[in-house]
Symmetry: C2
Subunit: 476 residues, 2 copies
């Protein structure tokens, strides 16, 4: 066996045996050279292969780390037509869950928001102060759709850094990604049209489809590999699908990111059927690897991807500023925005333009990613300590969600209510699907600083699950 393969096998075994846990720093190249007696070239080669296989991650100036561990989760049926008639109850339930997360007395594991303490409060306040001193009466008019010019230029530059050609004219600034996604869906569909979503998916997608009187078909997404392209292809062959709403990076709730190849194939498949892709990419800055993942937008050949994102998940939650890179649909989206909210607030657009002008965004993002990865590792370790061994935790290389599968006999909605009595919230699987496939799953928000209170909350959660398990076992 070649020397580098021996080293690869050795490290894989060490990770399997949990000598190195996910998030742990591996020996540096030089340390490994000293330990193994192999050449630097051999060690580097082994590390590169391990990285390409997803075992480890490299971080510039920091070294190599064990990648998050994905556990094998069960998969639901590969596709289903979505019955939206029952969704009124689901919506009631979703709002109940979201509302519970706002109570400061409740441990917010069910929250969709990252910990706002992670955001660069002081710099944002400085930008807001600067804007408050320089606001002009004409600013209202000048920041109407498509929105602030400096902001659109900066966004276009950030696309260019990833090799994506988007002109400032194709970008529309919106009231958060939520407005961007809603207007995008509205721009490319008519009532009665078919729309593809993932299963499980962000509940906002199902709500938007319902509101616009569209028909949804949900394609199963694998916890690690994402959407099933074969199922998608057969669905597109069978139904006159108009649009596909999905997340190719850090999918909510799964956390998974499609590979480059899969993104390319996805876009090619959709383009072959002239289906517009509405890409919800709000978590892509929260990657843990060495490079920001490309959006599916990067692979479009025919101006068919509307790429929606925002600053809400990585910089500031309350400003409500997002955007869509809408290509040829930009003008229609501007008009729809003028008809629904007129525009995004001028001072908020100006504040973000000012902040981005200080060039501290990327250094903030680096620190944010590091902290989120640490916190997610701590949360995962805590869950492993307290949840029964039969619970499976889907980890991923980014974001702050853990997607957890419980044994089939544990209903996560019931768990939600039991946990809430103990002042702990979770996001039950029911929120992310209209079917019953995810009744034993839940989403866990791991963005919080780890402390005794949170450790105790996870212990309580683990106790509740074990209690529910023993109850079902006693009665079955």
């Amino acid at each position: 066996m070649a020397k580098y393969l021996q080293l690869i096998e050795k490290i894989q075994q060490q990770i399997d045996r949990e000598i190195w846990l996910p998030g742990d720093k591996l020996p540096s190249l030089r340390e490994q050279v000293a330990q193994s007696g192999m050449s630097l070239m051999t060690v580097m080669h082994a590390y590169q292969v391990l990285e390409s296989q997803g075992w480890i991650l490299s971080r510039p100036q920091s070294g190599y780390f064990v990648a998050p561990r994905a556990e094998f989760l069960s998969q639901p049926a590969s596709h289903q037509k979505v019955q939206l008639t029952e969704s009124v109850d689901i919506n009631d339930f979703i709002f109940e869950v979201l509302q519970a997360c706002r109570d400061p007395g409740i441990v917010p594991f069910g929250s969709a928001f990252p910990d706002p303490e992670l955001f660069p409060q002081r710099q944002l306040m400085r930008s807001l102060t600067a804007v408050s001193h320089s606001l002009k009466p004409a600013d209202a008019l000048n920041n109407l759709p498509p929105g602030n010019e400096a902001l659109r230029k900066t966004l276009a530059q950030r696309y260019a850094l990833q090799g994506i050609q988007v002109s400032p004219e194709e970008i529309v600034i919106t009231n958060g990604a939520m407005e961007a996604l809603n207007l995008s869906l509205q721009a490319v569909t008519k009532p009665g049209d078919w729309v593809v979503v993932e299963n499980p998916c962000f509940y906002g997608a199902l709500q938007a489809i319902e509101r616009l009187q569209l028909k949804a078909v949900a394609i199963a997404s694998h916890p690690q590999h994402g959407i099933d392209l074969d199922e998608l292809a057969s669905t597109l062959a069978r139904l006159p699908v108009k649009a596909c709403w999905m997340m190719s990076n850090q999918q909510n709730p799964l956390g998974c990111t499609l590979s480059r190849e899969k993104k390319r194939d996805l876009v090619a498949l959709l383009e072959s059927y002239q289906v517009t892709l509405i890409e919800d990419d709000v978590y892509s800055e929260l990657y843990f690897g060495s490079e920001k993942p490309l959006p599916a937008k990067a692979f479009e050949k025919q101006d068919t991807v509307l790429h929606c994102s925002s600053f809400s998940k990585n910089l500031v939650a309350g400003f409500r500023v997002g955007w869509v890179a809408a290509g040829k649909h930009a003008q229609r989206i501007q008009r729809l925005q003028l008809m629904s909210t007129i525009s995004t607030s001028a001072p908020m657009q100006l504040t973000l333009a000012n902040y981005l002008g200080t060039r501290s965004y990327d250094s903030h993002l680096r620190k944010l990613r590091q902290k989120l990865e640490q916190r997610k590792n701590l949360a995962r370790q805590s869950l492993r300590r307290h949840l029964p061994a039969s619970a499976k935790i889907n980890d991923s290389q980014g974001g702050y969600f853990l997607w957890i599968e419980l044994p089939p006999e544990v209903n996560s909605t019931e768990l939600y209510y039991r946990a809430l009595q103990q002042k702990i919230s979770i996001a039950p699987g029911k929120m992310f699907s209209t079917g019953e496939q995810y009744a034993n799953y839940f989403r866990f928000n791991a963005a919080w600083e780890w402390n005794e209170e949170r450790e105790a909350a996870v212990a309580t959660l683990g106790g509740l699950i074990k209690e529910m398990l023993s109850l079902t076992q006693r009665w079955s």
Copy 2:
């Protein structure tokens, strides 16, 4: 004839003969006593009757003024079912007009916005600065729907000052009145439902109806007296109407305000058919009389009026903060908002709460009203100087719009294009109706400071109209 009646007749004649022009200050009570030799009681009585008849206006601490002059405008057919199929073209045209108003090189008589120079820039900047220094990470969460608590309390207090019972819990803060109106319509209708609008009306209403797949029926509104209640009654008897979207104060584009009695009758009529009233009340702070007009909301008996307003037309345009007093619909509207834009920006809500806390809003509004009335008088006088005598100008006791009827042979859309070549914009009647009834009308924004450039622009406009008139006369 009683002495006070003699004085009334005398003053009416003076106004008719244009001895006193609209906006002119009348002799004070004391001066009138000295001039007429009548008692103070008699003079006061005469002035009160003249005010109740709409001839004059009293302003606290300032005296009495000649009321704006309403000229008799023609009326279109009293109702029509709206064909929305043609509205795509109309929307293209509306956006073209709005876009033109944003060009700083164009005289913005077609604009919907008031002159932003009228707003208390310095105080707003001070409030924004204060917020920028005190922003907290938790603010995002704390200002989610229904929105900032202090702001909702202040709004509830302002309703209470008008004798209207609205609790802070019934209020939802929105991204401007536009979002409030859209969410309200969405909350109370299902696709296919019938909705009553006025004719002419704010184009946003027709666009919202179209987007939500509703059916519209337009009831004629009289230029001075507003909606035809008999027509409304017969429409309600004939069609299963679900909601009525209208403006009872300073209607856009007419400018007219319904009398108290008419508002009361309107609400009683709608309630008798269990039709929800969506009241667009964005101009009500811009009244010229001595008292703020009540909204129709004040007359509800069954929690059927959703009262929508904002700060955009009287305090600041670019913040995008509005609200709806939604009664029992408040929770549904919060949910719809969470699904469409999530919330209004937290710093903007906090800034308005801070500004309202300084208690300078009402003194700003007093100055604003005074300026708008002066400017509208100047604009009206200028239009009278330059437009042909056959043009009729509908004036009103508030707001900054003048609704102008041209002779039937002058098409205002053609006038719009001719004026635009001269760098002047107007808002042609076509924007406010889907029918052809208003092809010879246009809306004139009179909020601008009067200067030589604007005087020249009105002269040019008058010249174009006369040219179009002579052309049609030559060829007919």
